[in-house]
Amino acid sequence: MKHDNGFKYFSLSAIWLWLSIFALFPLCLVTLASFLSHDQDSLVRLPFTITNYLNLFNPLHLTLKIFERSFYMAGFCTLICLALGYPFAFLIARLKNSWKNFLILLIIIPFWTSSLIRTYSMMTLLKSKGVINTILLSLHIIDKPLSLLYTDTAVLIGLVYNLLPFMVLPLITNIERLDNQLIDAARDLGANRLTTLIRIILPLTMPGILAGCILVFLPAMTIFYIPDLLGGAKSILLGNVIQSQFLVSQNWPAGSAMSIVLTLLLGFLLIIYWRSKRDKEAGELL
């Protein structure tokens, strides 16, 4: 059989060329920058140093505080998404097909529209003269407006609102494939509802849980415009610090070091995820 490889090599070089120039090479540059020094006149300069990383773990340095805060906020947000999303995904996954597809589409629609716009709409709800306060005031539940906007609570609500679909969608895919017979078997063997949940359902849907957590946790730390719009002066998360280090204080090495740590964290979470579903295809996360 005649074998011409022109097309194959054309396509392969197109994708490799693009991803090497615009994805792999830039990542190398960030890694390099994270080991460089910084001064007033130049964005990055020699000599090589590991100060940028040490500062991240230096208790006297502000960045460690912010790292901890981001971890705490993102972790809390992930937990809320999981607590709200798991029962939700479970209920949807067990519905009849036609209903299920429709309801899934209803989740996807807000998730495909601008998250900035949805954050802005959250602002109109939470403002001191916003919808929630107006309703509560007119029902005489409260006598003066609650200060909801520009607090950590507002940031958390905004994050959960934006990221909940990312938790729900992988969970639905995972729970859909759960074999009903296993649940029946567990019940037949005398397990009560709680035991069935803990011993059968949760372990089997662990890949979905982990996938959802990865998709929520990392963006929660880095979507800088949510804390920026909904949070107060102190509601700074990692994304805001990286943003200000690159665009305001021009300390590129420090910002680079932070994003390298973020990338490593992503790698670490992915390894846990891949281990949780060794035999299955990794691409199923999507």
């Binding site: 097309f7 396509s11 120039i21 615009f22 792999l24 495909w112 691409g283």
Partner: protein, 255 residues
């Protein structure tokens, strides 16, 4: 009773998803200047919107950028998905993992890595830097969309085409394209909406002379909340909504 709780829980979550959007749309028609008190239905803010010249420049920029980025990403992404599906080559698993990881990488990491690249290579921040950045973050999504379509194909059609003497270019044109176009179009629409909505990456690689819509909205929200933004956001929402429904329709029809 069980059904009741199921229905109310689902309703609760969907209300959480949709109330903010509904409020936004409703208040875009409010006649009042700054308060949330209902002053009657009015198109005022939409009229205001249509006379704002700066805004339309930003919209035009965003459209040009979105259309170009989505088209180029669609071509490269489709070729890549085809490679991953049909060929064996060195680094195939690496490419597969890379695409997967690029989707998961936090936007801010992509953003700063591209910013460093552009400043090192002296590419002016503006249209070109935005275009390169947008193509880059769209490609993996096209690959995944097209690849999932390819997997559902019957492999024999490629064998048959080959036996009948078609080379790979011909197979791509005559076999892949007719079968793949819904997935390619869905990938295009997804890329387009990603490009139109992107804030984080654009924020880093944009320049002063090329203002795009999401960043314009961002700065409008920052400088002062005018009901005009409600109208703008409501319109953007409906346009995206139409695109989403259309692309879902395309994917459904073929599956």
């Amino acid at each position: 009773m069980n059904r009741f709780w199921t229905a109310s829980y689902l309703t609760f979550i969907y209300l959480f998803f949709y109330i903010p959007i509904a409020v936004l749309v409703i208040y875009s028609f409010n006649g009042a200047q700054y308060s949330l008190v209902w002053h009657g239905f009015s198109w005022h803010w939409y009229q205001e919107l249509f006379t704002d010249k700066d805004l339309w420049v930003a919209v035009a920029h965003s459209l040009v950028l979105g259309i170009s980025a989505a088209s180029i990403a669609m071509i490269i992404g489709t070729l890549a998905a085809n490679c991953l599906y049909r060929y064996q080559f060195l680094g195939k698993n690496f490419l597969y993992a890379l695409i997967f990881i690029l989707i998961l990488t936090p936007d801010i990491v992509t953003a700063i890595s591209l910013l460093i690249l552009f400043s090192l290579t002296n590419i002016n921040l503006g249209f070109w830097s935005l275009l390169f950045a947008h193509i880059t973050f769209c490609i993996p999504f096209v690959v995944v969309t097209v690849y999932s379509r390819l997997v559902s194909f019957d492999n024999y059609i490629f064998e048959a085409a080959k036996d009948l003497g078609a080379n790979d270019w011909v197979i791509f044109q005559r076999v892949n394209m007719p079968l793949l176009w819904p997935a390619m179009l869905a990938g295009w629409v997804l890329s387009f909406t990603l490009s139109i909505d992107d804030v984080i990456i654009s924020y880093f690689v944009t320049g002063p002379e090329f203002q795009i819509l999401p960043l314009k909205i961002y700065s409008m929200i920052h400088t002062g909340i005018k009901p005009e933004i409600n109208a703008l956001c409501a319109m953007t929402f409906f346009i995206t909504l139409l695109l989403v429904i259309y692309s879902q329709f395309l994917l459904r029809k073929k599956s």
